[in-house]
Amino acid sequence: MNEFAVVWQHRDMIVTGFENTLIIVALGATGALVLGALLAVPLMARQRAIRAAATAYVDAMRCVPFLLFVYLIYYGLPSLGLRFDNWSTGIAALVLYNSAYMGELLRAAWADMPHEQIEAGYAFGFSGLQLFRRIILPPVLLSALPLIGNQLIQIVKDSAFLTIIAVAELTHEATAMQTTYFVPFASFIAAVALYWVTCIGIEGTVGYLNRFAEERR
């Protein structure tokens, strides 16, 4: 397997791509989770108009393929006069797209939350943002953990689409290596293996946190 030796020799390319993927995923996941949590509020709002607007956003995102969404932002926003570089476009797309999914699964967890807990929060004088941050969000995040883990894996997979707008992530670097040294088999196998490792890491972390969550319940 001469090919793998070539990949190992030029491993800095793959390592750079892997690091970039990890950075993109970390930023994308954090952004999507924060925005998703904020989105869960209008999704659970009592006012019909607010709820309808938030639901429309979530439904729209659930109909668009991620790649099309990336193009929409990459080519569409400049024609509205907004210009970003590839990196910010990619991360913005990842955050906006996945926040809809995060928001929806947090909403479902919130709807399943026992009402007594929230009423107890009211009784203790919590309201508004404080109620959301201290009483509602922690149990919702804990009970939605497995689903959040699945969505994180989806973010890892979505990040590969960013190769299309020339963000130097793992798949992009694997393609670059393939075209430079003509080692298609080894370079893509290396990329797939690294994606696998990333997701196993995510699954392990989520599993660990989930055990912690079960203990607290």
Partner: protein, 215 residues
Amino acid sequence: MTAYDYYSIVHAALATISISLLSILLGVPLGLGLALIRWSRVPVLNEIAIVYVSILRTCPSVTLALLLFFALPEIGISLEPVPAGILTLALGTSAFDAEIWRSALTNFPRDQYDAALSLGMRRFTRFRRVMLPQIVRSSLPALVNEMTLLIKASPAVAVLGIVEITRAAIRIGARTYQPLPPFIFALVIYSLIVFAFVRAQRAVERRYALAGAPA
């Protein structure tokens, strides 16, 4: 955008739909096979199925498409873009389908299986007449959900040069310097396809409900 541009996106939609349908036709039975291997704990194959599902579940479709298209010729299997694209989506979806089928199999009521055994049904008859109709019904909603995810992953095959909806829209945008109209039209078409799948699922479920028999 001219009328021809709209037509070319609609035409590309046929590619998206046929590639997706073929991947579903391959992926769903493959997933069932994997689930049966895991359910009956076939030695060695069971472990292979576990690793297969774990890797494919986490593998981005773009990367898988590039791997299949550029790497398979190295081991003597040369695929045209369209078969490579279909294989990509089918392998990706089969890992998720396997998990869906497996959960239906493990939730299958044991007493029915024992009843079929006691009637002296052969293994294949038992599976086809007793288990299959019921696990199809219980996994259908999740399978259709996975099909809509497959359609959303299908633009990945554009990296192989297949002209499907997204790629057709990009071409028009690049030519007219107005990317927004074709993208929005493409978005509408994707929504229609996903919507059609969800409606089809509802219709099938209603037919099952009319046929009686509690799930």
